[in-house]
């Protein structure tokens, strides 16, 4: 993106601009585009979710405002804008004010490293993935601040729940990404995507695989387990049902949003949906190849790139359009899955949530990291790294052996851990019964 704008400025205004000025203009332009896209995404997502969940509940959903109700979110936005902004008397005014801002800002930052299509990344940071998750953890501070500042027990409870949940589920999320990072050898999100070319087998693992843009991580045992764990963690991070404990309407009104109204409430709403979009997008990018898909790689090979300056500009556009289409299709599919999960499952209890995260997901992802290490060793290492016996194998053979071994490892780990986990749940229920027994017998 940056290079395209650089090129543009040079051709339009002539060469000789200082580098920092070009950077400044480029980033301002990109930021403006992003800030225009993001609220639009949020509006569409709310509409999408309401329609989809309505279908799952045998209803129709909003369909009155505009054709098929497509302008419903606009009407909601107008309502949100015109509502009175109420600040409770007992609230801590300043903290109450900055809370929503701290929640929204990180979600906007996260767009900085999100690639939309081939060559379309605002800023290709070489630690993009780490940046993404570091920034996402900041919004927990905003939740805590707004929950505490509201001076409302529901808000505080909701904030505590939200933060506990976010902090707990960050660990499985990051651990499952760690497995992928081990396989890729890079923290850059763009590298992660380019790695996933191929056809069911990544062409980076086995050279010579035809590139249909389908060498996604989810087709490997390591990637699949990581995907499941990551998606569950993403549900918890995005406060989606069944992990919507922080804003459980039936228990604590609206959680940390209880004392917010008007546009501040709207900001929370915005942050939530944008975060959901980002989590879906990052799931699509890391495990499903992002903009990778049949045709994009070929198109982009003909385009003007730093590696191929003699390309055709038309192919840039074509590759971009197709790539963005694939990317958004995958992202919206995952958002649909989120809605689907919301339609299917009931809310967890907070202790169930914590148990699930700490006792099942974290061990599982830890085993997955070991699997990933084995995968890397079998597919990439050689005699120089102390694995002389794999030296003579064909790449496909190495891939197959790695596949089988990691599959067996992950399956065994999964069944064993699920068994242990359910036993611990039973044990826990027994202990609860014991407590009750003692309490009732004391009387």
């Amino acid at each position: 993106m940056h290079d395209v704008i650089n090129h543009l400025i040079n051709t339009v205004f002539g060469l000789g601009w200082p580098g920092w000025a070009i950077s400044l203009i480029a980033y301002l332009l990109i930021a403006t585009i992003l800030f225009m896209i993001v609220p639009f995404q949020m509006l569409f997502l709310t509409y999408f979710e309401r329609r989809a969940i309505a279908r799952m509940q045998d209803r129709v959903g909003p369909n009155r405002v505009g054709p098929e109700g497509i302008f419903q979110p606009v009407a909601d936005g107008v309502k949100m804008f015109t509502k009175e902004d109420i600040v409770p008397d007992a609230a801590d005014k300043w903290v109450h004010l900055i809370g929503p801002g701290i929640v929204v800002a990180p979600t906007m930052f996260m767009f900085a490293v999100l690639p939309w299509g081939p060559g379309m990344v605002p800023f290709d940071m070489n630690i993009g993935l780490l940046f993404f998750f570091a920034i996402s953890s900041v919004s927990a501070v905003g939740l805590m601040a707004s929950g505490w500042a509201s001076n409302n027990k529901f808000a505080l409870l909701g904030a505590m729940r939200a933060v506990a949940q976010m902090v707990s589920y960050e660990i499985p999320a990051v651990l499952s990404l760690l497995a992928i990072v081990l396989v890729t050898g890079s923290l850059s999100i763009v590298d992660l995507i380019t790695f996933q070319s191929g056809l069911f087998i990544s062409s980076s693992d086995v050279p010579g695989i035809p590139d249909f843009g389908l060498g996604w991580f989810v087709f490997t045992p390591v990637g699949f387990l990581a995907f499941i764990a990551f998606f569950i963690a993403a549900l918890a991070e995005g406060e989606r049902t069944p992990f919507d404990i922080p804003e459980a309407d039936s228990e604590i009104v609206a959680g940390y949003m209880t004392e917010y109204s008007g546009m501040k409430f709207g900001l929370f709403y915005l942050a939530q949906y944008v975060l959901n979009f980002l989590l879906c997008a990052i799931t699509a990018i890391i495990f499903f190849g992002g903009w990778q898909g049949p045709g994009v790689g070929w198109l982009y090979a003909q385009a003007i790139t730093p590696a191929n300056p003699a390309g055709n500009g038309l192919f840039n556009v074509l590759a971009g359009v197709l790539g963005v289409f694939y990317f958004l299709a995958k992202t919206y599919f995952f958002f649909f899955v989120m809605v689907w999960v919301r339609g299917a499952y009931a809310r967890l209890r907070i202790d169930q949530l914590m148990d699930f995260g700490w006792k099942l997901l974290i061990p599982l992802t830890l085993v997955n990291v070991v699997s990933a290490a084995i995968w890397v060793g079998l597919t990439k290492w050689g005699a120089a790294d102390g694995l002389a016996f794999v030296e003579g194998w064909a790449p496909l053979m190495r891939w197959a052996v790695a596949f089988v071994i990691t599959l067996v490892m992950n399956l065994v780990a999964y069944f064993f851990l699920v068994r242990v986990y359910s036993q611990s749940q039973d044990e826990r229920a027994r202990l609860d019964d014991e407590v009750l027994e003692r309490l009732t017998n004391v009387a």
Binding site: G119, N126, L130, L431
Partner: protein
């Protein structure tokens, strides 16, 4: 693992300004001044705010300022780790601890001899640190090569390599330390489950009340039979 097939111009990890003029330097100085003011001011607020929550929030602001300083010093990885660990974990931990403990600090914010520690801190800063820092001659390396060429900085890859080769022992010790801290924190703060005060559900309360009534009944019946 970077393939050149999908080529994206990647900005170098440390992109030094190619035409670094006076203007750029001025800009950097202004930014540094603002960040320093944020860090110091937020830190001042941390130690002087009466409300612990406000202190914690200012602490977070200070952490952010420090992360920005790291960015300014082209240590991106450290900056991100700073945000991840300090802002995302430690400050949250602190906030949690504040929420779990109802602080009744009373009228006094500081301990009785707070002015002593104030003097110590001021003395350390004014009489020891600043003259030392200003008076020392630092062996700053002379810029080599053509002007404006990016200096070679160690990045995240070198850091990773260092962890598994040169500093492997330190790395493992740090891992052990973290594990020990994890277990230690759990052991210290753990309350046995069966000993914990537990809120009864409605059904359980009903059961409890029923049993109480039953026992009262039997007691009354026993008294009656004695009579």
């Amino acid at each position: 693992m970077r393939s050149d097939r999908v080529g994206v111009l990647r900005l170098p990890y440390h992109y030094a300004p190619t035409t670094g003029g006076e203007l750029m330097d001025l800009l950097i100085q202004i930014i540094f001044g603002l960040i320093s003011a944020l860090v110091i001011g937020a830190a001042m607020m941390v130690v002087t705010m009466r409300n612990v929550i406000h202190s914690a929030l200012w602490l977070i602001a200070s952490f952010f300022g420090v992360a920005a300083l790291y960015l300014l010093m082209e240590a991106e990885f450290i900056a991100v780790v700073q945000v991840l660990v300090y802002v995302g974990a430690i400050s949250i931990l602190i906030l949690f601890a504040i929420m779990l403990t109802r602080s009744n600090e009373g009228d006094r914010l500081f301990t009785t001899y707070w002015w002593t520690s104030g003097l110590i801190a001021l003395g350390l800063f004014g009489a020891v640190l600043v003259p030392t820092l200003a008076g020392t001659i630092w062996n700053l390396p002379q810029p080599t090569g053509p002007a404006g060429a990016p200096e070679v900085l160690s990045g995240v890859e070198e850091l990773g390599r260092g962890f598994v080769s040169e500093f492997v022992l330190h790395f493992e010790i740090a891992g052990v330390l973290l594990t020990v801290a994890l277990i230690g924190a759990i052991v210290i703060a753990f309350e046995e489950r069966s000993r914990r005060r537990r809120v009864l559900t409605l059904a359980e309360e009903l059961e409890l009340r029923k049993r109480q009534q039953a026992s009262e009944h039997s007691a009354v019946a026993a008294a009656d039979s004695v009579d």
